[in-house]
Symmetry: C2
Subunit: 115 residues, 2 copies
């Protein structure tokens, strides 16, 4: 498994985590939630989410995001991919640009998990 990138299977989280709990989560559910939380638990990625939230149409392209973060273009691209893989952003190509948007439903899952 060396060098194999882990992608998040969205179904793993979406269904089980939103159930009203009556008992502690098991390891499987905990690992699913940890995946989405890890995606958010980074200062650069928190800034990206926050910038998108306050952006017109809640969307932006990579070129608008490198400057406010003070990070290189590859690094910003990497963080956007992590967020997209976690289902928190969607990516849409328009000409040369890649536009990223928030996925409110996914963010709600995060919120509702924390009750």
């Amino acid at each position: 498994m060396v060098g194999v990138k882990k992608e998040i299977a969205l179904e793993d989280i979406s269904v089980r985590s939103t159930v009203n709990r009556t008992a502690p989560i098991d390891r499987v559910d905990a690992e699913s939630m940890a995946l989405i939380l890890k995606a958010v638990a980074d200062p650069a990625r928190l800034q990206l989410l926050s910038i998108l939230k306050y952006a017109p149409n809640q969307e932006a392209c990579v070129c608008d995001l490198t400057a406010p973060l003070g990070l290189s273009q590859p690094t910003v691209s990497h963080h956007l991919k992590v967020l997209a893989d976690a289902g928190l952003l969607t990516r849409e190509r328009r000409g040369s640009w890649a536009w990223f948007s928030l996925v409110p439903l996914r963010l709600n899952e995060l919120r509702s998990f924390l009750e």
Copy 2:
């Protein structure tokens, strides 16, 4: 700075993160929030928080936590320290035992940050 353990300064987060935002968070605030999110973004620590939530009095000692997690005692102790350093748990000694409790206020900060 090699080998120096980072501890979270609770004041850094508690004040600024609960303010109603009108603009994207800056790097400093993002780093503060990332600290508490990192503490939560681990399957073992999510299980610990969840177990405590459903425990009588929302508290438990280390000896009750190693078995359900399937991890060694030092590892569980480590995770509890991470959560306590993030202000999410309090530790109280009673005789030989160390009892850990949830800090609801701190968990609310986490929730309210995600709006």
